[in-house]
Symmetry: D2
Subunit: 136 residues, 4 copies
């Protein structure tokens, strides 16, 4: 399984080189991450939980342009003890062309104690449902 | 008197038309406003006070470009009972060319009661020091 | 008639006050403006035309929040010789609450001669179809 | 040798968690990269050259806050045939605390032929002057 988030690029996300500025891709990746967390949360009503972003990365494969319709595919590539890794593929919805690849390392974090904690079993199982997916 | 804030435009603030995107000017105006509030606050240590932005506006007089050094001049054009108006002139520091004119209506606000309140006399006096300045 | 643009607020569009930052509203207004121009352009295939933003303004009526679904209603409030004025109302789609009011003065501009030009009759007629609309 | 870029965080770069949003760090990294390219360019007047960003990454070590004065240290960690890697350390200028670590893979690119090209010897030598620096 993998999650799909859809965005249409905005004019203010372009830059003077005529394409989407590199910083804008991290806006799209944040959107995808938050939608994915919402999705998990929808199944976990008995428990409030939080995440901290430890690291994020983007490989730029092709230029993106204004008014482009993009899909950001999100899946889980690693589930560790206290953290997990999300991978993203950003594609043009019309041509299927890969525009960028993203990655995010997310730490399971207790905001009360301000410390990382082991990923709960229930969440681990949810994450594993999105594990190993190969975005095409 | 008027306050001057200096910014150098960033690449990600441009857009595909090759100039500074209109949304970026509001980043500069926010910078100028916050610096101006800091300045006032520096003289008002006995009192914590807060502001709410009720309205903001920008007239675009000339195009701005990447790596341009800008000065944002800020002065007070109106001091009312519960609000005041700031005006801004954004100029190229090298040529003096006017790039944009800004305006902000700021309400004096009590965050505890969630209501606007009369601007205190001491603050009014501070604001009046920056009143009527004609940015050249 | 009026045009409606839909946006869902993003996390990176919030600020440390816990609400949508004032600069983000100008992103939404740009989205609405561009969609409106697209709409007009769709009816004007025989002619390439361009616009320049001369001024933009936003009145903040209520705080906006993360993950809020907003509609930006756009209509024409003035059609002049060489320019026209767009008005916007930003509302929460669920409650109908007005979050902000926007305005944009747009100049009809010839990029080849770098000069403003009279708004063509055909465009004037299109604009007048969206004139006088009262967003509710 | 390493290059230092100074930024003061802006209010609109924060988010509703009360700290600097992750996407804002990529604004700072772009600033640092562009300053570094300017620096190299200043020594290479006989030749116009261009770069393409192939990948960028940020590890978030500590939270950043509004009005924080940051220094972004930039150095070269790899010089390859057609590309090179920049590393960045973002620190609080007052406390020296490390806030984030950045990385960027940059490809030497000929915009006329739209192809990557070997990094010229002169540029390689310039890059090597910033190689191996250990930011403290």
């Amino acid at each position: 399984m993998m999650h799909e988030t859809f965005v249409r690029t905005r004019f203010c996300e372009t830059d003077a080189l005529g394409h989407i500025n590199n910083t804008s891709y991290f806006i799209y990746l944040e959107e995808a991450r938050i939608e994915f967390f919402d999705l998990l949360g929808a199944n976990m009503e008995t428990q409030r939980w939080q995440f901290i972003l430890a690291s994020t990365k983007c490989d730029f494969m092709a230029q993106g342009y204004f008014k482009q319709n993009l899909v950001i595919q999100t899946w889980v590539s690693r589930v560790g003890t206290k953290s997990f890794t999300l991978n993203h593929k950003i594609k043009d919805t019309q041509t299927g062309k890969v525009i960028a690849l993203g990655e995010a390392i997310v730490v399971y974090f207790n905001f009360d104690t301000q410390q990382s904690e082991p990923v709960p079993t229930e969440l681990k199982e949810q994450l594993l449902e999105y594990h190993g997916a190969q975005a095409e």
